[in-house]
Amino acid sequence: MPFWRQFTLALILAPIGVGMAVLIPLLLGRIVDGPIADGDAAGIAWFSLLILGAGAVDAGVNLLRRWVMTRTTSALEANVRLDLFDKLQALQLGFHKRWESGQLLSRIMTDLGLLRRFMAFGLLLLVMNTVHIVVVVSIMVGMHRALGLTVLLSVLPVVAATTHLVRRFGLVSRQVQDRTGDVASVAEESLHGVRVIRSFGRVPYSFQGFDRRSVRLRDAGVDRMRIASVLWPLLEVFPSLLLVLVLGGSAVAAANGLLTLGEVVSFVTLLLSLAWPVGSLGFLLSFMREAQTAADRVCEVFDAPITIESGERRIQDPRGAVSLRDVSFRFDDATEPTLSGLDLDIAPGETIALVGGTGSGKSTVVSLIPRLQDVTGGAVLLDGVDVRDLDLVQLRSLVATAFEDPILFSMSARENLTLGRPDATDRDIDEALRIASAGFVHDLPWGLDTRLGEQGLSLSGGQRQRLALARAILVRPKVLVLDDTLSALDIHTEAEVEAALKSALKGVTGLVVAHRASTVLLADRVAMLVAGRIAHVGTHHDLLATVPEYRELLSADYSIEPELAEEEAR
């Protein structure tokens, strides 16, 4: 608990504030009973000064407490936000595929903000008001036992009702918060997909999806207020009800001379001073439940297990031999495995092309090597070491992937390129750009400093892929994975890139996912993926000559008629 000092200070200051809040009405009672009744002018002056002093202390303590809590709670919020961010960065891709981004966003912004506000205002008020109530009630009991105990007893049924309502409020709050996340998710999706929505003219259709969720959010919001509309007034009028009870009792007591008029005034003033602490309790308790729900939602992320954790071992002298041993892989939500019984050995320095039909699992295979996903059976070995035993940072610096979907961030071209090696020099960058035929970067308006990505200059698919390639090359990995990185390049550029890559791949183990014969030619050997396992391995020409399916997959002149006939027969 890094902020215990501040919280302790606030907790010490809070009772002082409560003390003042109780003291002032008592003093007011005294002044009526004492100096005013006695006609003591000096006494009135003294008492007034005393009340002023108490008021000043009250305000001063309040200022100090708020000042401390403000800084503390903001810092606390920021710390938790950063911890959550760390956790999210550490969580494996599987988690990110499952969780909608709007749900994550609503947790890191809305829920943390709510928690902060509760810590800053709600929590202390709740504590203070509770203390206030306890103190006032104790004083009442001390002042007049019978009346005090009456007050005490009458509280019980209200406590029961409140507990029930607050619990229901909490359940509905959860709904509201979850649905807020849903709405954020749809909103985000519609904004990312705006070009597709537009080009199909589907604005009304996509609006329906958004609207459905927004209406559900509204319904939950209305529900929540309905519960509040019972809970809050109940607690707000409760002190007044007590007042009726007490007035009746004390009036009788005063009439019988058991209480002085001054005592009745003090008693009633005390009771009235409960109006706000008790009345606000409804709001504060619901606020607490909301904060609790927010905390639960945040904890769900914190509690999510990190399945891809760093191993201990480091390879001293990496050579880049990759072996896949009886590898199987199944998606979380699937019953059938995508890969099963897959074996493949890649010698250091060798380049293997991985081919297979659309959706055969090629990208899955290559994602297993840098452990973006983990095998569900078998093992992936790098230089004979199971990648799960390896230090994750080392593994990911030894294996670099150029993705088919080149993810560019809204950052300078330089920052985008040096993602995997922040200390790269301009010369390293130039070299990588040369190999990837991405010299166009220098022709951008601000060269390497030009901002790319969504908030910057937009590039064509081919340009983006070449940047992704340069980014991977720049890491100087032992194992370079090209996940269909050349698909959007035109023929001339592809030839250029491939020529340069051939020399760059010397001494580097290469794994190239390919659709085209031209790309396959980069490789020493070709592995063909069929039904989740490697069906054939050999050189391009061997496979062309001996494997009809391969010919079908890679050769341009192969006739598709038989396959289509088969397809139509299905």
Binding site: G60, R195, V196, G248
Partner: protein
């Protein structure tokens, strides 16, 4: 945070053309934000009147209670001592009645204002969504999705806080203040004037507070958007972040913005932290003055003890809601700043407008023409200097050229993502600017390499092309592009969940789903911008074959690096720097020995 630090922080972001920070524009948007708020509240003005009456009733009941207490002390107890109980019982009965009224009114108010508040937020969300979808693609290219998301989430939530909590408090608070002021005057106007002596102090404090809070909250909202943008971007690109071990650096960058956001929040809350105890202290001073002066008055017999006690209660009652008002002012300022940002979006006009008098075009043949079209994204850098291109209905045209030749721009102009600055793009001789959006989209569909997959099943995603399509039609469309085998092979077939952003599908599968969408949409003009690059050869061939039939009676514009896709074209246009350098049937161009012939030769060689 100094400017220098700001710059250091921004260094990594790199330079961009025309960085227009919206913060500069927000001050101008203040009236707009108030208008928007008024506009949102307007439909509920009748209910508003009812609620004010309810709150007045509630407040009268609530404020009546101390008066009744005073009566009990002044009359009820003395009467009891003389043996009369009726005064006391009557007073207590009236109190109970007041309590019932208070509770009923309050419950009614909360219930109704909860409904209205949530309705209002729904309206705001709907409007904002519609506006974002109405604005042209050019706007989205500029505005970026992260900022738009922050408008739709955190800014709406700031308004929510005002609507759901603020109004509730402020109406009651204002009435309490007015009510207790009146009662003070009625109880004893001399003492009331004494109590009012503290009001000017209060006024100065409130004025300072409002101004300081406005400034502080504007800063908070701007930074909250920055934090959201940074978060979304990191999480969208998490694969690259992890693969390239970027976690520490991206954390540093996020930390920088998160801490600035924290500091802004702290500053805003400190304004609050200073104002609230200030109000409290002024309240105490008021009470002391009343007690002192009232005490002397009581001493001189000008005031009963009961009146003084009641007076003290009402002075307290006057100051208690001041804190609520302070709270309200801060959520109002926060909400107004959020509304400024939202109003900024609502005030945007799409660069591409629907015409006022659209030309009816129920059936299109599909002829597309560029008539002297000039277009540039950035002034002075023309992408298309002056393009004349006539594509007869039914023709399949391939656009070929190097990066930056303007191929994608042509595609976007036909899809009317942008309007040309000069000349006109026409469909069947009608300027696209004279067609309404629904008509244009029915006839023209652009398929890009983006292949955005929405959350939902595969069937839902294909049906995006035509939401009312039956399952049979969806399957037929999937079969036509060769997507059926892979879909049928999945466990839940067409009902398989695509995962977030289609993460369960490979790039090639996503392209096929997108293709099936187009087939289902059945437009007269199809534009394919790099739509087949991730397909393997057999699948591409199936698509190819499908294209040959699908495109047979349609107009098509195909952009592809793979000449295999171009093979289905009737005509090839080679572009360079936005100008047409070659134009003709592919076989003629191949024989002609120009650029296209070069490309073709290289492509043949690559197939070896």
């Amino acid at each position: 945070m100094t400017d220098q630090q700001d710059r250091a922080l921004e260094d990594w972001r790199g330079v961009k053309q025309e960085i227009v920070e919206e913060t500069d524009a927000t001050v101008a948007l203040r009236p707009a934000s108030r208008r928007l708020l008024a506009d949102l509240v307007r439909p509920y003005h009748r209910w508003g009147a009812v609620l004010v009456v309810v709150v007045i009733l509630e407040s009268v009941a609530r404020l009546g209670i101390p008066v009744l207490v005073q009566r009990v002390l002044d009359n009820g107890i003395p009467d009891l001592q003389t043996g009369t109980t009726s005064t006391l019982t009557t007073l207590l009965a009236v109190m109970v009645a007041a309590i019932v009224v208070q509770a009923t009114c309050r419950a009614f108010f909360l219930r109704r204002s909860g409904i209205i508040g949530n309705e209002l937020l729904l309206t705001l969300r709907r409007r904002l969504y519609r506006q974002f979808q109405r604005l042209s693609v050019g706007f989205h290219d500029r505005y970026t999705s992260g900022r738009a998301v922050s408008r739709m989430t955190s800014d709406v939530e700031a308004v929510q806080e005002l609507v759901l909590q603020g109004l509730d408090v402020v109406v009651a608070a204002l009435l309490t203040i007015v009510g207790s002021t009146v009662i003070l005057l009625l109880l004893d106007w001399r003492l009331a004037l004494v109590a009012f002596a503290t009001y000017p102090l209060l006024w100065f404090l409130m004025r300072w507070f409002t101004r300081a809070a406005t400034r502080a909250f504007r800063h908070v909202r701007t930074l909250s958007a920055v934090v959201i943008v940074q978060f979304i971007e990191t999480m969208t690109g998490i694969k690259a972040v992890q693969a390239f071990r970027r976690e520490p650096r991206s954390r540093d960058l996020y930390e920088a913005v998160a801490l600035r956001y924290r500091d802004a929040n702290t500053r805003a809350l400190r304004v609050f932290a200073r104002a609230m105890p200030g109000i409290q202290f002024i309240g105490h001073v008021g009470i002391v003055v009343v007690v002192a002066v009232g005490g002397f008055m009581a001493l001189n017999g000008q005031l009963t003890v009961g009146t003084l006690a009641a007076f003290v209660l009402y002075v307290r009652m006057f100051f208690d809601p001041m804190q609520d008002i302070g709270q309200f002012i801060s959520s109002l300022q926060s909400a107004l700043t959020a509304l400024e940002k939202i109003a900024g979006v609502m005030d945007e006009e799409p660069d591409v407008h629907d015409p006022e008098h659209p030309v009816e075009l129920p059936e299109a043949r599909g002829g597309v023409a560029f008539d002297g079209v000039g277009f540039s994204y950035v002034e002075g850098v023309p992408v298309l200097p002056e393009l004349d291109l006539d594509i007869p209905a039914g023709q399949t045209l391939a656009l070929v050229g190097t990066t930056g030749a303007g191929k994608t721009t042509i595609a976007k102009l036909v899809a009317r993502f942008y309007d040309p600055q000069r000349g006109a793009v026409q469909l069947d001789g009608v300027d696209l600017r004279d067609l309404d959006d629904a008509t244009l989209r029915r006839h023209v569909t652009l398929l890009t390499q983006e292949n955005f997959i929405f959350a939902g099943s595969i069937a839902d995603n294909i049906a995006f092309g035509r939401p009312d399509a039956t399952r049979e039609e969806i399957v037929a469309a999937a079969r036509a592009v060769g997507a059926h085998p892979f879909i049928a092979g999945m466990e839940k077939g067409y009902d398989t969940d695509t995962g977030k952003r289609g993460s369960r599908l490979s790039a090639g599968q996503r392209q096929l789903v997108a293709f099936a969408r187009v087939v289902l949409a059945d437009p007269r003009v199809v534009i394919l911008d790099e739509a087949t690059s991730s397909l393997d050869v057999p699948t591409e061939r199936i698509v190819q074959r499908a294209l040959a039939t699908i495109l047979a009676d349609r107009t098509a514009i195909i952009i592809a690096h793979r000449l295999s896709t171009v093979e289905v074209a009737d005509r090839v246009v080679v572009l360079q720097h936005g100008r047409i350098v070659e134009d003709g049937p592919p076989e003629v161009l191949v024989a002609g020995g120009g650029r296209y012939a070069d490309l073709h030769r290289a492509w043949l060689a690559s197939l070896a």
